[in-house]
């Protein structure tokens, strides 16, 4: 395996993959969160404004999922094969959620009837929640590990996904996305809707802190291999500390009405959470607690050195490009939402 700046390609690609997944969670996180809280908004106009706040960007956000899937497939095909065949049922439900959500956003505005719009509001909200929960469920299972056989394929029953730890991570993910989404919508709205979202942001923050604390306690008590990393490398304890700071900063900025900083804080919280999980599992991509020898690591799952090099070159050229036009799109639609004839 080749290396660059003294770091192996596989490790570089793990970093790229982590960055893409974090990017996905931060970007799609706010529009999933906005979807999950959609039914808390009562008035037709509020719902329209909320939908149009994510309207021009949600599709672009979802692209990060496609890139993430491609990055895993390309760099760690063994892990890609194992993860998706193992998470078969949750993943199928996730994908149905993805379809219904896209359809709901797209179709809601196409007819004026009240029942039609209410139907798609429910579809949009439920599918957003389902997607957030199943993402969290997969993250939880990846973090605690799943049983693997000698061929590095899933060896458990599909119901084993619904274990307490994974469910806790799942709820935490949903709560965090809802905070993130509420802050985003607050940034994009005015007047009464703004006031309402302000209140919702605070409530969701409490929901998030509660789930986060319970999950952390559960991890410390029952999932020792995850906390081992920080026990053996005290220097990295700075990450949980930072994360606590960013979480605490959310209500502080919300109170001051500085929603942009609050949004950056919730984005940083998402990124730090994922960094923490990846540090805990590294170099494992999929840990097999029952039989650690069967685990999938970034080394035994990796593509060839040549492919890794090609991938890194693609990422090096592609990432700045994506950055430029993503920023351009966000810049174009900056400021508060104004409904016009092309709106949803």
């Amino acid at each position: 395996m080749g290396s660059y700046l003294g770091i192996e390609y596989t490790v570089w690609w793990f970093l790229v993959f982590g960055a893409v997944i974090s990017g996905y969670a931060i970007l799609d996180g706010f529009d999933l969160g906005a979807g999950a809280l959609h039914l808390f908004l009562n008035k037709e106009e509020s719902r329209r404004i909320a939908l149009n706040a994510i309207g021009p960007v949600w599709d672009g956000n979802e692209v990060w999922l496609v890139i993430g899937g491609g990055a895993l497939f390309a760099g760690f095909p063994v892990a890609y094969a194992a993860i998706f065949s193992a998470f078969y049922i949750p993943f199928m439900i996730f994908m149905v959620g993805i379809i219904f959500r896209a359809v709901a956003i797209e179709f809601r505005s196409k007819e004026p009837m009240l029942w039609w719009r209410k139907l798609w509001d429910v579809a949009y909200c439920v599918s957003s929640i389902v997607i957030a929960l199943s993402l969290g469920l997969m993250l939880g299972n990846v973090a605690e590990g799943i049983p693997l056989n000698q061929d590095r394929e899933f060896a458990g029953s599909w119901l084993s996904f619904l274990n307490p730890f994974a469910i806790l991570v799942s709820l935490t993910t949903l709560a965090l996305f809802m905070v993130h989404g509420a802050i985003y919508l607050t940034m994009k709205t005015e007047n009464r809707l703004y006031a309402k979202l302000h209140l919702l942001t605070n409530n969701f923050t409490i929901f998030f802190v509660v789930t986060f604390v319970i999950t952390t306690l559960y991890t410390l008590l029952y999932i020792p291999h995850l906390s081992d990393f920080f026990r053996s490398r005290p220097g990295f304890f700075v990450i949980p500390v930072l994360m606590t700071a960013t979480i605490a900063n959310i209500p502080r900025q919300v109170k001051r009405g500085k929603y942009r900083y609050a949004f950056l804080s919730s984005a940083a919280t998402i990124a730090l959470l994922l960094i923490m999980v990846s540090l805990e599992v590294f170099p494992y991509l999929l840990y097999s607690p029952q039989n650690p020898a069967n685990s999938i690591t970034i080394y035994n799952a990796a593509s060839s050195s040549k492919t890794m090099k090609i991938l890194l070159i693609i990422a090096l050229i592609g990432t700045p490009l994506v950055g430029v036009y993503t920023s351009f799109v966000f810049w174009t639609f900056k400021g508060k939402v104004k409904l016009d004839d092309m709106s949803y």
Partner: protein, 459 residues
Amino acid sequence: MNVEILARIQFAFTIAFHYIYPPLSIGLGLIIVIMEGLYLKTGNKVYEHATRFWIRIFALIFGIGVATGIIMEFEFGTNWATYSKYVGDIFGSALAAEGIFAFALESGFLGILIFGWNRVGPKVHFFSAIMVFLGSLFSAVWIVVANSWQQTPAGFRIVGQGMNARAEITDFWAMVFNPSSMDRLIHVWNGAILAGAFMVLSVNAWYILRNKFTDIAKESFKIALLVATVFSLLQLLAGHKSGEGVAVNQPAKLAAMEGHYDSFAKADMYLLGYVNNKQKKTSGIKIPGGLSYIVHGKFDAPIKGLDAFDPSARPTQINTIFQTYHIMVALGMTMILLTLFGSYLWWRKKLFDKKWVLVAFVWSVLLPQIANQAGWFTAEIGRQPWVVYGLLKTSDALSKTVKANQVIFSLVLFTIVYIILFALFLFLLNRKIQHGPADDNAKDEIEEGTKRDNPLMIH
């Protein structure tokens, strides 16, 4: 039923459904670029209304294309884990490149295309239209490269043995430019542009028949007719080139396409026919030695037949391949005749005079769609029993941990979801078409007549 058959049905069903939409995006993308370009150049409001209308249709199609496309990306992992491991080193880089170069470009600028009318100037908007079109073209590149590698693998070596064997890249550009990728890419691009162009022809022919929005409809119809004529003819060349490639690289597929068994005999070319695979006999209306002539330039040259291949190394559903191939060719020829006839009427200034011609164009939307599907079925069933030609059998490519009942569960789920989705799609498409290109807002604009007099004015 066993897992292999179920997984194949699921893949065929989900990919066939998905493939209704991306070709329309590519084709409509081109038409939108042309229309908006004409609007910028002439300032004629007819083009602006047409552009806005087709962008609304594009948005609907693109939304479903994305959602069903995400399913495809992950279905490799869920149902075809062994395949994913085998090709990951090669296929993965193409998929990653698609995501980062093509898909991100397309969906990023789509936001501006749909919602940006009042946010950016006309030139930036036009630029976004071009970017969306380029993005859709690029995404076809990577996906066709990946599929072509499965048809004609190149630039790789096999590492490992048995269930742990996998292909590794040795030469990236040899992988990208594998023997069939460029021919097939052009064939796919043409088919996609035809899908979009015929959709525009169909909708506008319907408007003209109904005397609705006639000014806009006639101009749009002419643009689409020009595009459809050019690309129908180009498709004949592209298809021929693709067929030549099959003759060289996948002789078993070629033999199946024409139901040719005997390696020591000349090969016929059928217009219509039927293959009896048990009796190894093909009957129908044919040009004797036609295939021999196309491949070797001589009517009596022998062509390698299905008998030259071990039964375990060649496709079994010969009649299906034969029929899908002939449907594709027949529809391709129909498109050429229809568009040439339309162009002739246009030249004689009688384009919109004949009612039956317009009726034919209304139905013509189905021609490229069915031809595209039939072509892909030919290509994919014709590659069997291989998933990677000559290297990996489809039956070895499955996820070993996935059980038949799981595949049935997801198959039923997708069938229900896709039926609902398709019904909604048709319902909304119909509503949008009924509503037409002159939306309420646009009518106000025409009445006010001030808002957008100068198309290059920056808002």
